[in-house]
Symmetry: C2
Subunit: 166 residues, 2 copies
Amino acid sequence: MHMDQRAFQDYYPDEVSHCYGCGRLNERGLKLKSYWDGEETVATFFPKPYHMAVPGYVYGGLLASIVDCHGTGTAAAAAYRAEGRAMDTQPPIRFVTASLRVDYVRPTPLGMPLEIRGKVKKIEGRKVVVTAAVSAAGEVRVRGEVVAVRIPESWMSRDASADSPR
Amino acid sequence: MHMDQRAFQDYYPDEVSHCYGCGRLNERGLKLKSYWDGEETVATFFPKPYHMAVPGYVYGGLLASIVDCHGTGTAAAAAYRAEGRAMDTQPPIRFVTASLRVDYVRPTPLGMPLEIRGKVKKIEGRKVVVTAAVSAAGEVRVRGEVVAVRIPESWMSRDASADSPR
């Protein structure tokens, strides 16, 4: 399915790759990786034993986090597609979350991989709305919706100028 | 304000004190602590440097997590109040999240304490709806709403029976 793809998050410029949920440069973070699968997007995440709500079940805040980052990742990928651009072209596109909604449909068992699937609901200017479903053992456990807003290009200058904060 | 109170979460039975967001027994967790302040509830949380979205700003999934746990804690405290009971009386009351909504009103700066304030919007049978606001430097950054559902007492038996899973 996505063996030949780099994850969306691996295209983010260094300056915006420190996110706790999905930044490849955040050593303490969750490092979520999202990919295209046809018209949908998909990520797999294996919670740690301590990502617990009550014994045996995954913590809701962790589930909200992976929905959030899969949502902003999907929004970025969809914006590149809408512009007919590959994800390694300039200028970079990255989104932040304006609003997040998560419905815990049924408990999410701990100790197995979770599949997060995203769909683009709409693109409106700089705003992209993504719906997501998190499944474990083949059953949907969580449904979410992310309203993502494109961040200004000026936050992500790749110009290696002498006065760069990095 | 709450110097003379134990946190809501410190009353949770051991069996349900492993939550990554607020369980006192989760060594890797965030250990959120919530208290009454008149008719509102309040918690303070100091994000770690790695709880980052983009440099200088707090990760949205972390903000969702503290809204979530402050919401379920507030729901439990409100349920005790509604029954005219102290939080150390039996049977224990604890809630899980059915639904979580978080609006990121403005960016949340990293490197300072956050104040989370909760209000009980309604109590309907086993369901409690809590609204929350997260502030930094005196300004509201995030608004949230948690729909919390009371978990069955049978999940939290304190009877030390021979066949207890603990």
